[in-house]
Subunit: 211 residues, 3 copies
């Protein structure tokens, strides 16, 4: 496989993952009956919030959506089209349909965030955490902007924890001398497959035993 | 008109706009029965949050309220006086009265944020967004700190969208070779007048057609 | 007293204070029935949020929890142990028990934040505010992440205001030429004692007179 086609696949997954995040923000905004401004902002925060937080922590500038502003045009177009054509009856279906691109995005963004932090020679636990933030924090900010309890904290579905484990897969493989490409790919596949199985089997994180 | 008097007018509008933002935070805090600490923090976040977020994104330091700390003294004085003298019966009146300085602030801060981003050679859409953030994000943070759904997303009044359009007015005029002063002034006037007419006529953004 | 033993005492207080903050986040997460991911995130935000915000404002990198990543391991261990062993009946007791380490943390972090800002030659009011943010903002973020009104704004207990006064104690002593060690110590003691007396006597901040 040439590096061009690998880059094309990575870009495709990046677009699909970001689209899934943006759509989940769009749906959250529609459910709250936000106006177009609110929908665009919530959608943008969900799509770009995780990577932006990572870059604030690691002091990286410019942010990717500042440097590549066609992401913003894409987001506005998505929100305009989404508000115009999505009806109440489509929302549950859409939410189910975006689970697959969302799992792809989770698998891509977690090792990506980890990789960016490792390049800065940060400790493995920090690097893994940067991967988790990249993948998960957009959804947390979406819920805070919608005045809801973050689903990532309260729905007991394995999501951030899969990104956490997948980040360690990446760190360990790199440490063992495996190439970046193969490490990313293994991490990506384990996260995405794990996530899809978790959705399919409806796995739940253990509940706190309060008594 | 000499440049000194233009600077004076700009400073006057800046003070009026910031005062309007701070007062809207103060009122939100009083309504929530916050203590003086909460009132000062919410008022400060409303007044300085938008410009601070812009500066975090653009990596500009020090923030203006860090560099010019008399803004902080002014805020504390405002909150002390406001808590002591504002009564329940005054709140609705105050909220109505600050609409005019708030519209002036919207007209000033949106082209100002756009201008700051253009100087950094950022793309027009990013620059316009920085103007919107400067003008709008303080109010969004105010509502998040008060545990409310952001009004900017949900009240269907044209506000951020006016800042967005006014930002494009600025960008286009600059692009056409108009001087900075004239571009700012045109953007300022179109935003402020548009906003005041929107309040007066009670314009509403279109609602999502859910069916 | 040798400087080594002073550093040991400072480190001990830092650990105790951070532990108190982390535990208050852990308890908030348990109360909300968050899963382990939510508990770790809220606990981490409470423990590290204030210092991180200060460092974002002052543009200091790397953050202390990025540089000294054993803090993260400690946090994860604390959350695992806490979720496993804390039961409903223990929570009220734990919340009461952490008031003392929390008061120690308040006394340590407020002058520490002030000192860091003074070293950057910032104005006293900004420096004092950085101290308040360091000590208080973790708890504010904890409540926002839990979708609650921040207690720091609404419970009318003197907390941030004590950090504010203690910060001025530090600034004034430094200005009078007192050594850093003695200034920090005086600020620390006045804050911690003031806070413990305020808890013991159940002091309340004055309420807004709405009529």
């Amino acid at each position: 496989m040439t590096s061009i086609s690998i880059n094309s696949i990575e870009l495709l997954i990046e677009v699909l993952g970001t689209l899934a995040f943006a759509l989940s923000g769009l749906i959250a905004g529609l459910r709250k009956r936000f106006d177009l401004v609110g929908i665009c902002m919530v959608s943008g925060v969900t799509a770009f919030g995780g990577g932006t937080l990572r870059d604030v922590i690691l002091d990286r500038r410019p942010f990717f959506w500042v440097e590549n502003s066609y992401w913003l045009w894409g987001l506005i177009a998505l929100c305009l089209i989404g508000s115009a054509f999505l009806k109440s009856k489509h929302i549950d279906f859409t939410e189910k349909a975006i689970q697959i691109p969302d799992a792809l995005g989770l698998g891509l963004f977690a090792p990506l965030g980890t990789q960016i932090a490792l390049i800065q020679h940060l400790d493995p636990i920090v690097a893994v955490l940067m991967g988790v933030f990249t993948a998960v924090f957009g959804g947390i900010l979406r819920d805070i902007f919608c005045n809801e309890v973050p689903k990532a904290f309260s729905d007991h579905q394995p999501y951030a924890i899969i990104a956490f484990i997948g980040g360690w897969v990446y760190v360990i493989l790199i440490h063992l001398g495996v190439t970046e490409l193969l490490s990313s790919l293994t991490s990506f596949l384990s996260i995405t497959i794990f996530r899809l199985v978790a959705i399919n089997r409806n796995w739940q994180l253990p509940k706190w035993n309060a008594n």
